[in-house]
Symmetry: D2
Subunit: 387 residues, 4 copies
């Protein structure tokens, strides 16, 4: 039996990067609802993100999104973040909100549009140099809505060429991570729809090109932990975008829809060497708090990842292997479930307190008056996906 | 063998109602792209809809959406439509774009919000009296995003009560049609997610309450034609919202994603008495032309329905029944497929010309210069889902 | 906060009926693997089922399947069961394993086949009288593989007629429960594919006709707890067939694939009055232990239901309602998750011991030597779905 | 506009390999129904397959399955086939019907089981040398039913090693094609679940290892033509297993469930150079005629592929490219749909007659009396998946 005390040390240093855009408003095509106190600019998003880290100790980095988080002085933005105890992380590009990208960006058959999209990534790389960011994350909305609309094969070739041009520009200590997504916003075909495509594309680029796995970007029924195991085996798992979903890319709080799936994913991460100080895998959230409180929502998210990591670390690997090798189906499953069903919340609360963190981070935050303060102070246009 | 000449008469009088909102911009949560010439107000939407009818003869009615199509004088709007050769049809309510509805409308646990939503439907009924519309269509965005967020059972009871209040208000020659949808914008539970729920709710209301079937609102793999057959059997199929999808509620052009499915649906409509002068089933489009031309897109849509109706009418029912009753699986399937594979486009073009319509409605429209004219003339804010 | 001691009394009398066929071999179309010690006849299946009840106290009833469990003397079979501490429960009919049913049974267009299927149900009712069974469970494999193969609407009408004939035959203290299933073994259409169809059919029959919900029989993404809430609201939830699935009708151990879903289902059962001494809902397993130990597999299953029932009972309903009514999305969700994450295994072990049951039923069974004994003793043809 | 006469020459030499097992009985886990006249042994299966080729001219090869088609003298079997106008094709291995493979074959943690599975493939390679077969097709049933049951990552590594051993044994003019499948018979994880895994595995083996794409082996909603385009681009599409499905791996007649999908797939095949004399892609059926006539069912299948190939060849590539490059969404889609809706059945019938084949192959076969003859003559045990 593995005890919490056996695994506590492995919880040190866990870091789950926060997306700046989670602190702006988001919604569906039907409506973007507002929430009192929502951040109005990059600085306020970072300030809110810093609150999450202050109470949980789990999120020392904030990912930014260009152009949503465009500022004149990135060094100043970085210093501002540092003052609040966090640093700027992954830079996310955006090639889906400009009229020019209506029919594609890096895959466009129009060379001018393609160049514009490439230039945007060059700008992101410049920002990375200014902020000290290590990862350039590319998620493409590119795709088509109708059969025949464009040439699937030609787009794939143009994508390869565009990516190569961008990859050649990143610094020797920087990485390019390519995210895949099953569908949306394109409804017939998506240019990077599955891990196989992302893998084939980054494998052609070079060592510092890797795959980003968003847990909400798969076909119904897909075994995500299998993909985790496979990408780790192939040495190409670069990062996670965590969230959860019941239907499509719902972008709900990670662990909210299927906690057991999150557990299985984290178990395979650990099993495959993707967790810990030697791992190259970056962990990040990518969520939308459409109707719930945003700062508390992000806290709930990183705590879910922490709690489930603890459970996954509790798996008695020796007993598991023994049961597996003797084809004891029920016995092996029982070893895994025993860890999943273990309530780690009490030990984690004590562990937090021993590190000067509140036992209950969300309650501590809610008692702090921060939310009330920003709800009162922040008047005027709130940030959203558009800005 | 059934010939086109045998079924031509049955094509007379076919009517597919157009949604006014198809002529405004639409998009995804990521971006709403503009299209040159997009209508800016209800009048321009109706004018565009009238073009579809002018060239196809298939769409004499235009459904409106409140508040998107709110005007001061509905009688004047109706007269405007009549002048253009069309009339106003179904009135669609909207309880998903007001901050008050963030957590529900007709199902809200807040009596004030519920009353507001009911009052909105009363307003819609008043408009129906002014426009002479027969159908009040209710699609609810109500639902929750997280398990536990609200009480599923309590919401269902409140929904029943709200619907009863609305139903009691409609005129004796008016109908209430309740649409169901699998998911979106709610991501954990939807209050009217399936035909069973819609059926149970309208059955409790009375004779003039019926189900609206949107072809894009089902779980993956759902056999939609079975639902058509069942609802016709139960006497509760009120109307269709036609569109097509590959993944979720993609709202693509009807017949674009799976033409054979559209054929099967229309076959069951005909088989079950849902087509023709004696049918109470209303046919309507509900689509989004996010990236393609809108007027031509609507033309393509109604033509797809017409062409597939012709194919479905061509099914040799006598031969089919004979093969079915002798359990000749391949033979029965072949009778159906023979009709589906018959190219009706030539005969339909002749049929159109014999009625003073252009053989190729889309080409005729494109040659008319209308699109270029509106693209040049319509400057300023284009209509979209929000207005 | 609700404590285990607050809900312990409600665990008394929980009963999860076992399917006799879970103790025979099962498999896929590719292979049915054997397992040492598998029962060879109805008596041995019942003896194995009695072991589950002996160690868990949770399964005093065994459902039988006709003709798989056909015997000459049902009174003797019942007495044999009683001697082992269990009784015979639901009678399951079978209209899918006879050449005559190749193209349908209760829905067949051939009157002779339909009568044969009806007669089979009459036989099942006779057996129910002999065994004292209360429920006749009908799951139909009826459907078609190809569009056009048969007339969907006509089959539905014939189904209604066949069911009425059967319903008229059941005793005044007996019930007919109609199970629905999304697909398999039919691959184009299934005659009872969803809860709506099952509901419409049983509603037409009368008060003692109800719906059976098999947790593995839905389209991907279906919110099953919603259906539970709806059927309880409509007064038509008759019984459960518990199991779990990742893809289709996988028939895995209940709670194995998505424990949180099982929790949500049981919460809605409790919320809607479907649990406890006054409930009319029957709980049953319907699983296949294709590769794992069968008796221990059934134990794991009923324990999963018991553990998750305890968690669902632990939900602080008062706190939940308060959070729901104030639209505190995160707070309401947290109340639910708190119960789900509470480790009830220790308290349940003590509770069991206080009732003379082993703290760890599976370990106790495995230590008993029963499995080794039957593995050694039972030579010859093992029971399977075919016999 | 492309005319039939423009593409007729490209239809020459089209070959769709038939699976010997399609002429034996098949079914679901619920029941394998018999069909009069079903073949009883490899010779009769080949004789039936030869009928398909005799009337359609489309299927000069018959794939065999070991051990189902095991004979003492493969040279004699090949000669027998040649006498009937066909030849033996792909050799399919089977590692799912032996008790030893209950927990895996090429992925087993048991070295003895693994070696047995490897040896089986060596035997298949020996048979290939005897029959002159070029392709060894490996579809693995390997996987697990419960989380934790076995080590996903370890199995993947063992799979790589096993495949390497097999690959090293094939002749220099032989190929290994690795099929992937989403799920079934394993219900939690499958060792080769997607094209990405198959691609990564065969890419590691060498040039003569390729991917086999079975059109029924994907998650719901998967865009299969995208995978076709991608694999052709990567030079790794080895072969097709054609069939169709509404839900899971239904193994229905190709083109029966979604003819438009088949059209899109064939269009991408042609677009990517996968069709014609220079292509290395092998086309094969893999279907189950559970309830319909088998020989006629195979005829329907190859004719469906031929008809849809003709439609795909009819696409006006020049017009399509022009519309695509000008982002004319509706125009480009219309070019594609025009080809799909063109009724090629008449021209194909004439084309067949000009080659000495019957205009209506199925009718000609049915008029030949062959089916009646075998139904009368073939008494005794029919072949099925088990033998």
């Amino acid at each position: 039996m593995v005890q919490f005390s056996d695994i506590a040390a492995q919880l040190e240093g866990q870091s789950i990067e926060l997306p700046s855009w989670a602190f702006g408003n988001s919604g569906t095509r039907f409506r973007v609802f507002g929430t009192p106190g929502t951040a109005r600019n990059p600085e306020e998003k970072i300030a809110d993100a810093a609150q999450v880290n202050k109470y949980t100790g789990l999120s020392p980095k904030v990912a930014i999104h260009i152009p949503w988080d465009k500022v004149d002085d990135y060094a100043a933005l970085g210093a501002y973040a540092n003052d609040l105890g966090v640093e700027l992380g992954t830079v996310n590009s955006n090639t889906f909100q400009d009229e020019d990208y209506k029919f594609g960006s890096l895959t466009s058959s129009n060379p001018a549009v393609r160049q514009k999209a490439i230039d945007h990534h060059f700008e992101c790389i410049d920002i990375m140099h200014a902020t000290g960011s290590k990862d350039l994350k590319i998620w493409l909305a590119d795709g088509t809505n109708y059969p025949g609309q464009d040439d699937i094969r030609g787009r794939q070739d143009r994508l390869a060429e565009s990516l190569q041009t961008i990859y050649d520009r990143i610094g020797s200590d920087q990485r390019l991570v390519l995210e895949y997504k099953f569908f949306e916003p394109a409804f017939y075909h998506t240019d990077v729809p599955d891990w196989g495509t992302s893998y084939a594309q980054v494998a052609a680029l070079g060592e510092r090109a890797l795959v980003c796995l968003d847990t909400g970007h798969h076909a119904p029924g897909t075994n995500i932990e299998f993909i985790v195991a496979q990408l780790l085996r192939l040495g190409k798992l670069g990062s996670f975008d965590f969230n959860s979903r019941f239907y499509a890319d719902d972008d709900l709080i990670v662990g909210a829809a299927d906690p057991f799936q999150l557990f299985r994913i984290l178990y395979e991460v650990i099993r495959g060497g993707g967790y810990g100080p030697d791992s190259v895998v970056a962990f990040m959230l990518d969520q939308c708090h459409n109707i719930e409180a945003k700062i508390a929502g992000q806290m709930r998210s990183v705590l879910n990842v922490q709690e489930m990591t603890a459970r996954a670390l509790l798996v008695d690997r020796q007993a598991l292997t023994a049961a597996q090798e003797s084809n004891d189906v029920l016995g092996a499953n029982a070893v895994l479930m025993d860890a999943f069903y273990t309530d780690v919340r009490g030990p984690l609360a004590s562990w937090r307190e021993s590190r000067g963190l509140p036992a209950d981070p969300i309650a501590a935050f809610q008692a702090s008056g921060y939310q009330e303060k920003i709800s009162a102070e922040r008047v005027g246009a709130q940030a959203s996906w558009g800005a």
